[in-house]
Amino acid sequence: MGEQDWRVGALSEMYRIRAFEEQSADFYRQGLLGGSLHLGIGQEAVAVGAVGALRSADQVTMTYRGRGQALAKGVSAAAMFAEMLGRSTGTSHGKGGPMHIYSPEAGAMGTNAIVAAGIPIAAGLALAAQLDESDRVVMTFFGDGAVNQGAFHEAMNLAAIWKLPLVLICENNLYSEMTPIREMVVQDDLADRAKAYAIPAAVVDGNDVVVVRQAAEEAVQRARSGQGPTFLECKTYRLVGHMLGDPEVYRTRDEVERWAANGPLVRLEASLVRDGRLTAKACEEMQAAAREEIQAAAAQALAEPEPDVAQALTHVF
């Protein structure tokens, strides 16, 4: 498959994720979701570039912001919407919710509401792959804020000493909730932390899906061939608040607009158009098609029933 084909497919997948996130926001604004909603708008290139390097048998762990990664991994949009709406056809029959998406068939081993908790779990998935003598690879997504948690450091060391087939993807979107990462870490590059564990690492432009994909391919290759873990710091930016309703007083409109102009969708569109692979009109049509697909999934989820209350008592153990 040529590069041009791959990039067009990636754009289409990024449109799907963007449409999924926008639809989720709509649901939230309509009061149809419980709890809080954390969107990955602006971070689609990391999801698509990194997950694009995986096979379907490979596995991922994610955060509360990770439904785009789950979508890229092959989790059904309708089932995820149903979960978010608390419906009986949701990935967990409405019992998990947006922060707890599990779809083991697709290799999606959980979004997580505890910062850094998915990292050691991913190390365990990778240990199992190694013990199974399979060539499965595990990828774990986490934010910049997670690198100050003990769980992150402990998992990094385990991955290093056991040479686990693990790819650690740090989405550095510059903020953990309302706190700028530069106030919480002294290095400019979080990838520097990997040196302490002798884990190969790279700093990647997380808004460029081609660069993310290339780095992820190398990391996955290393993991699959028994050479151990890789840490990728993907510099990116969330174009929306930490969660819906975040007044975003900690950053300027100007900053957001600068990043928006440099967003992953506009950049990929521009390069595809510049290279003569797609016309602007073709991009629009692809985006419309993605929206249509996602809206159909949303409509399907909305038509589903809620679970019976007796379901609240099942699967505790």
């Binding site: 419980g34 608390g86 967990s92 998990g96 919710g97 509401a113 953990s176 379901q311």
Partner: protein
Amino acid sequence: MPEMSYAQALNDALGQALANDPKVLVMGEDIGHHGGVFAVTKGLLERFGPKRVIDTPISESGFLGAAIGAATVGYRPVVELMWVDFAMVAMDPIVNQAAKTSYMSDGRVKVPLVIRTQQGAGRGNGAQHSQSLETMFAQVPGLKVAAPFEPADAKGMLMAAVEDDGPVIFLEHKLLYTRKGDVPGGRHVVPLGKAKVSRLGQDVTLVGLSRMVELAETAAKELSRQGVEAEVIDLRCLVPLDIETIRVSLQKTGRVVLVQEAHRSFGWAAEVSARLMEDSFDDLKAPVRRITSEDVPFPYNQRLEASVMPSVPKVVAAALSLCQDY
């Protein structure tokens, strides 16, 4: 007396504590510049500066341990854990360190630390953001455990917690932050370990903690319409536990319903029930009843969530059955 929300009352207490004692520190995630995700620490950084009001990384185990260290040499850190669920990544500093330092040093090393956090279900936050974990802390000797319901108590008990020479787990409720009430200005201290009778009645005693007091009070009004007068007790603290106030009420009513938001098994209601059985057996006209959450993680779907939680009808039904059957 000024009217304040629960969150404002807590903010007032922190402001007073910081102003009164230069050794008081406030620490936590997003508590400084942002003023806390529930706005409890709003304005404190501006008033007291970054040496007293310290934004931390997402490192609960680290900054709680650090707070303990500072506390052992005379500081009085008030640490915010954004959600009680996050205390689970910092159980060593809480359980093995803070709780035991006084005992292990035979009282020579004290840990005047307050851990403020919020808990509770009812918002569709899912299994990792809805728990009520008070008993986990209450089971550990060396920790005091407070959980105020009224805004005035939120302020008064927080001030007491800051003045306490040992570690206090201070449990707020996410659904109470906007609750309004009259709150005394200035220094207002409500001693830890004193329950409060918030409604008088002679037929049945309803005991609640934190937001469950709201359910008990609403249930009492409904019961009154049905001819049953309930006495309502706001437990306010688990450690120290004011069993005496419940016993005195029981001498009058002979019946008690305990309303606990945490899961049913091994909760504080079981402890209170056992103590009443041991020490007030002769006053009981009827078995002790518990209305609690089911022994399941909190489901996301809000209908399911409500179904596994205590509710006013459940409390009313339990109280009526005690009055009718015994």
